[in-house]
């Protein structure tokens, strides 16, 4: 078989899942570990066509379950290779154990969660946005994981590359929250040539790297000593000191967890920033993300024709939540949160703004149609 290039540069018409897979390969993916689950499976099916046939072939392994997938992803990452896995609802629940381990051992990896309706098996073939809180609080213990949410096929590609960069630069797992709509929706997307987009590789011990022109502090993100390299590389899910060895003292644990939070918050400004659409004169702001934003976008255009001043604050990085930015850009405006969940995005929004907001909860496995949003907006605007 002919060797394939990493970057399939050019214009493509394909689904969000394919864009995620291509984004990962563009960013330098080596190991993919997965377990079939609707609607994330097509990522895996595309990876298996591409990854083993690259000029520098990567490795694809179909694991026995999601717990094995995430743990193998961590294992691969410790050999200084870029690794990822993708899953949906129930699989994401199973992966929580491994996510905790990845956080504790500061392992760079990317996890793409293609959200569907839940709880349990729920609505496998319909979209949902009910894993927003799980992405933050799913595993036990305190932690913060950078979480990105694309709204188009192009962004599925872009944010996957960004996710790998953030993971490598900050030595942390990173989530990409896609959803069932994006996973099957086909639209145009462009893959840049190799080298056109920044691709970051993690630091060796004693080395500093730059990401988006910013030098990453070695004190916050220590260089990673991987398997097969000079010194003994060791880490554990237990509280540990800088060498990776077990140390259960309060001081060490505090230092470790503080640093884990600090590194994500200090560089939060380098994560994808929220997109503000028609916000300047808006009196009502729709706060939303993912495929729901596509509906909100359409709704805004419709009600703008009728003279209602509505804008959209579309989150691209959900965690850490851009509290400051949201507060500043929505001062004195009515807020409408739209999500395919009962009550998840409202939590961080209300916490950031310290007030109640209007809400469209649409957790029944469908994207809220623009008509639902326009109706609510008219209600709020009094028209």
């Amino acid at each position: 078989m002919k060797k394939q290039p990493r970057a399939m540069a050019g214009r493509h018409l394909d689904s969000g899942n394919i864009a995620v897979a291509e984004g990962a390969i563009y960013a330098g993916l080596h190991g993919y570990y997965g377990y079939p689950i609707t609607p994330s499976t097509s990522i895996m099916e595309h990876i298996v066509k591409r990854l083993p046939h690259l000029e520098e072939p990567g490795y694809f392994l179909q694991c026995e379950d999601e717990i094995a997938s995430i743990t193998a992803t961590i294992g691969c990452s410790w050999t200084r290779k870029k690794a990822m896995t993708a899953t949906s609802g129930p699989g994401f629940s199973l992966m929580q154990e491994g996510i905790g381990l990845a956080v504790m051992t500061e392992t760079p990896l990317v996890l793409v969660d293609v959200m569907r309706g839940g709880p349990s098996t729920g609505l496998p073939t319909f979209p949902g946005q009910q894993e927003l809180m799980q992405a933050h609080f799913g595993s036990h213990g305190d932690y913060i994981i950078p979480t990105f949410a694309p709204w188009s096929v192009q962004e599925c590609f872009d944010l996957t590359v960004e996710a790998f960069n953030a993971a490598e630069a900050l030595r942390t797992p990173v989530f990409v929250l896609s959803d069932q709509v994006l996973s099957t929706l086909k639209e145009k997307f462009v893959i840049p040539k190799e080298g056109e987009m920044e691709v970051v590789n993690r630091a060796h011990p004693g080395e500093t790297i730059t990401w988006k022109g910013t030098e990453i502090s070695e004190d916050l993100v220590p260089g990673m000593n991987c398997f097969g390299e000079e010194k003994k590389a060791f880490s554990t899910g237990l509280s540990h000191d800088e060498s990776g060895h077990v140390d259960l003292t309060a001081k060490t644990f505090e230092r470790l967890t503080n640093r884990m939070f600090e590194k994500v918050h200090r560089y939060a400004h380098l994560l994808p920033q929220a997109e503000k659409y028609m916000m300047d004169d808006a009196e009502i702001v729709i706060v939303t993300y993912g495929s729901t934003a596509r509906s909100a976008y359409e709704a805004i255009n419709l009600v703008r024709e009728q003279g209602l001043k509505v804008g959209m604050y579309r989150l691209r990085t959900i965690w850490p939540f851009p509290e400051e930015d949201l507060r500043k850009s929505t001062e004195g405006k009515e807020i409408l949160v739209v999500e395919m969940a009962r009550d998840q995005l409202t939590w961080p929004v209300e916490r950031a703004l310290l007030r109640r907001v209007h809400h469209i909860a649409y957790p029944m496995g469908l994207i809220p149609p623009p008509s639902v949003i326009t109706k609510k907006v008219r209600e709020i605007g009094g028209k």
Binding site: E64, S69, I74, T79, L101, T236, V246
Partner: protein, 273 residues
């Protein structure tokens, strides 16, 4: 002549992470012996422990082993040593991957991973310190606890234990052996063979937990335990018709008043046909 005390230390001191010793294991625990056998086996292969080998362990007493030796290592979550090893092996196939974990970790919570690893045949060595008990949590029954033995969760009786050799043979492991921790003379050689096997090598290492399991089940002290292991061990006779591989011939027998009564030991399979 005068002894220079700064030159003293264990013969394998440069292979041990000295700052972590003494280890957390109880007096008389077999784990230390097993760990030393592993290190000696690894040294015998002539490979560089730091650059060419990775030792992965799960949770439990055995899980802590990877922190005590100068292998590159990782202490994973409960039962996930094998999937982690699969990730390492596929990430860098030049690394020799050793999974060193306990019976509860590998065969209870991680049982599914074991059979799939054996089926998949990624090159790795799996060493199970099989002491029939969950030690670190205080002595609960494990998948290899014997039928009439006492643990904190099996007061009157226990259900049938796993025969790990039978399980590994059935799942398709390429190298299957069983020894006890008291076979420290031959074990390094067996471990070397296991590491050099292409594919999944499995060693069921019958070990003792005198402090928690033994005192309730017939081997109250470590020195009795070692004698018990040697007395109960029976080297298998390899038969043409393969009858030595039958489940009833590979089963470990145990009496809760005397300790082990029969331990079939040896290498049961060398390379899968």
């Amino acid at each position: 002549m005068e002894i220079d005390f700064s030159k003293l230390g264990h013969n394998l001191e440069d292979k041990l992470t000295s700052k972590m010793l003494p280890h957390i294991w109880c007096s008389g625990c077999s784990l230390g012996t097993n760990l030393q056998s592993l290190v000696r086996g690894a040294v015998m292969t002539g490979m560089d422990m730091d650059k060419e080998m990775v030792m992965i362990s799960g949770i439990g007493c055995t899980g802590r082993a990877s922190g005590y030796v100068e292998f590159d290592g990782f202490h994973t979550t409960h039962g996930r040593a094998i999937p982690f090893a699969s990730g390492v092996k596929t990430g860098n196939p030049n690394l020799e991957v050793i999974v060193f974990s306990g019976d509860g970790d590998l065969f209870s919570i991680g049982g599914n991973h074991f059979i799939h690893a054996a089926r998949r045949k990624l090159d790795m060595t799996i060493i199970c310190t099989n002491n029939s008990v969950y030690g670190l949590t205080g002595g609960q029954a494990s998948p290899t606890t014997f039928e009439y033995s006492t643990t904190t969760t099996t007061i009157d009786h226990n259900l049938r234990p796993f025969n790990l050799v039978d399980l590994a043979l059935g799942a398709g492991a390429d190298f299957v052996a069983r020894y006890t921790s008291a076979h420290f003379k031959i074990l390094p050689r067996i471990i070397k063979q296991a590491i050099e096997t292409d594919g999944v090598a499995f060693i069921d290492l019958i070990s003792g937990c005198p402090a928690i399991y033994g005192k309730r089940n017939g081997y109250p002290t470590a020195d009795y335990m070692v004698k018990n292991f040697l007395e109960a061990s029976v080297e298998i006779e390899v038969k043409e018709d393969g009858s030595h591989l039958l489940s009833e011939n590979t089963r470990v027998e145990f009496d809760r008043t005397k300790g082990y009564t029969k331990i079939p030991i040896g290498v049961f399979r060398r390379q899968h046909r």
